[in-house]
């Protein structure tokens, strides 16, 4: 017993997503066949196609955008003195939600990881260095993940800027706000202790 071709192809498509195994792919496919209306499918298909037809990486900052340059790079009201470096587009969204940072961003779209075949050339570093020629930029804030790859990438960037006047800073690690000390794990506590500051 085999599924008709349209279903097996759909299963294959769903399986390409991270976190989706063959069983989930099968369930999603059957759900699509049985439950989702034609109009919904048309909308879905168009949305999928639009991701490829209308979206691209902003040539300045690397963020995903449908305008050139992206709305953040284009925003004249933003502070031009600081640049926040993040790993991917969704990090920009999180920081923007906070509404407290009004500088600009640089999205690397990856981190250095020889094991995954990602070297410095493969992430959006070159355009960062070009941007830093702009004398208005005074501070580069590194907002990469606390993974070893994120850490190595931060160290690499710092090293490239060894002889420049730009101040390089890194987001602090520490205790969750409003959290009780006793709920923090030992590693978080240690990082918080190492990163303590005078009040």
């Amino acid at each position: 017993m085999k599924y008709p071709r349209a279903i097996t192809e759909l299963i294959e498509c769903f399986s390409k997503y991270p976190g989706i195994g063959p069983k989930t792919a099968e369930r999603l496919s059957l759900y699509t066949v049985n439950k989702i209306k034609k109009e919904e499918i048309d909308k879905f298909t168009k949305a999928l196609i639009d991701t490829k037809d209308t979206l691209f990486h902003c040539p300045i900052c690397g963020n995903i955008t449908d305008t050139d340059p992206c709305y953040i790079c284009n925003d004249k009201n933003r502070d031009t003195e600081s640049l926040l470096v993040v790993e991917e587009a969704k990090d920009v969204i999180i920081i923007e939600k906070m509404k407290k940072y009004d500088g600009k961003y640089h999205v690397l779209n990856g981190v250095i990881s020889p094991i995954n075949g990602v070297g410095p050339e493969d992430i959006n570093l070159r355009s960062l260095l070009e941007r830093l020629q702009d004398k208005r930029i005074k501070e580069l804030i590194l907002g990469l993940n606390a993974s070893i790859e994120g850490e190595a990438t931060s160290m690499y960037i710092k090293r490239l800027l060894k002889n420049s006047d730009i101040k390089v800073t890194k987001l602090a690690h520490g205790l969750p706000v409003g959290g009780d000390l006793q709920y923090a794990d030992e590693i978080t506590l240690l990082r918080a202790l190492e990163g303590r500051r005078e009040i």
Partner: protein, 358 residues
């Protein structure tokens, strides 16, 4: 800490066992191959989520079964907790008080166990890899931060070795990146080595009085941590880039360091007799009891697998003297004639036959 009771399912030849334990001495009796060691191994698994006998934990699952489960109620001086571990062929799930522990580093080290088994002679005779595993395990059980640093170090090491291979094959030509990853590696290395050195120092400060009492003052023992580099790993690795690239791996660092044990100032792995080596292992293990006690202010549980066949009677006497303190102890043996009346009165006996325990 005291393990009050245990439930073991599908563990090697133990199909189903539910046991209440004595807070002092528990003696597990049976012929060879009946499952005595498996009971100790199940306690070890509950504590470390690993087996002391095999690197492939799934081997402990009873043939033909899908899973093995061990759970126990443990009393600490100020609290009690339930621990459980379920192993399937592919997964490992640990719980404390029925709450799943997603990170192993937050589970391991909560139940502290010191095991003395015939396999432990490898600490002395085995290759450096086994000695490092020994340090990592014993040190890790009182220091989650050590486990974390070790985990990070291993990840960076993999990245660095991959980078070295890529440079070797001319796929990458970026020495700044090599510098950066070498520096990152060295940062974690120094934390690991510092903690290992303190650990060995502490053990050294405890071990001699124990070893003297075991050997009637005849022998002096000392453990030495042998680094593969002098002081500054970063600078020293930088001077060996050429070599590391050629071989495609990292030639120095805590992943290559070694442990040497000296008896009266001579390397015991070369000059020590079998009996001396066994006694040295026992001294190390007993020192670890004190080490754990000094770290967490609570005695660990002591598992002694088949010690009666391993040690002569004088050494055994000293050992028994030692475990008379408030240390919960499990002993496996084929022969109970070694055990004197005084101990018998304090002990619970468990008889093991073909995986059944009563």
């Amino acid at each position: 800490m005291i393990i009050n009771n245990i439930k073991v399912r599908n563990f090697r030849c133990i199909h189903n066992a539910e046991l209440e334990f004595n807070k002092n001495l528990n003696i597990v009796v049976g012929n060879n191959g009946q499952g005595k060691t498996s009971l100790l191994e199940s306690i070890y698994l509950l504590a470390f989520t690993k087996s002391h006998k095999t690197n492939f934990e799934r081997e402990v699952i009873m043939t033909g079964c899908d899973f093995t489960k061990v759970n126990a109620a443990v009393d600490f001086s100020e609290t009690k907790k339930d621990y459980s571990i379920v192993l399937t062929k592919k997964t490992k799930k640990t719980k404390i008080n029925d709450i799943e522990q997603k990170k192993l580093s937050e589970y391991i080290g909560k139940i502290n166990v010191i095991m003395f088994s015939p396999e432990d002679l490898r600490i002395i005779k085995g290759d450096p890899n086994i000695k490092r595993k020994f340090i990592d395990l014993e040190l890790g059980q009182t220091s989650p931060i050590y486990i974390f640093n070790l985990l990070m170090y291993k990840k960076i090491l993999k990245q660095r070795n991959e980078l070295l291979k890529k440079i070797q094959k001319n796929e990458i030509d970026d020495y700044i990146l090599l510098d950066v990853i070498t520096e990152q590696l060295s940062q974690y290395a120094s934390k690991i080595v510092a903690e290992r050195e303190i650990f060995i120092e502490t053990v050294n400060s405890i071990i001699n009085s124990i070893h003297r009492s075991l050997t009637k003052d005849l022998e002096k023992i000392r453990i030495e941590y042998k680094k593969t580099y002098k002081d500054d790993l970063f600078e020293e690795l930088k001077n060996k880039y050429k070599y590391d690239i050629l071989v495609g791996s990292t030639s120095m660092g805590p992943h290559r360091d070694d442990l040497v044990i000296y008896l009266n100032d001579e390397d015991i792995s070369i000059y020590g007799s079998q009996g001396q080596q066994r006694t040295a292992v026992l001294s190390i293990k007993l020192s670890l009891i004190e080490f754990v006690k000094s770290k967490i202010n609570e005695y660990p549980v002591l598992l002694l697998d088949d010690v009666f066949s391993e040690l002569d009677s004088t050494r055994l006497e000293s050992l028994i003297e030692y475990i008379k303190r408030n240390i919960q102890t499990f002993i496996t043996t084929t022969d109970i004639s070694f055990i004197n009346d005084e101990l018998r009165e304090k002990a619970n006996f468990y008889y093991v036959e073909k995986g059944n325990i009563r």
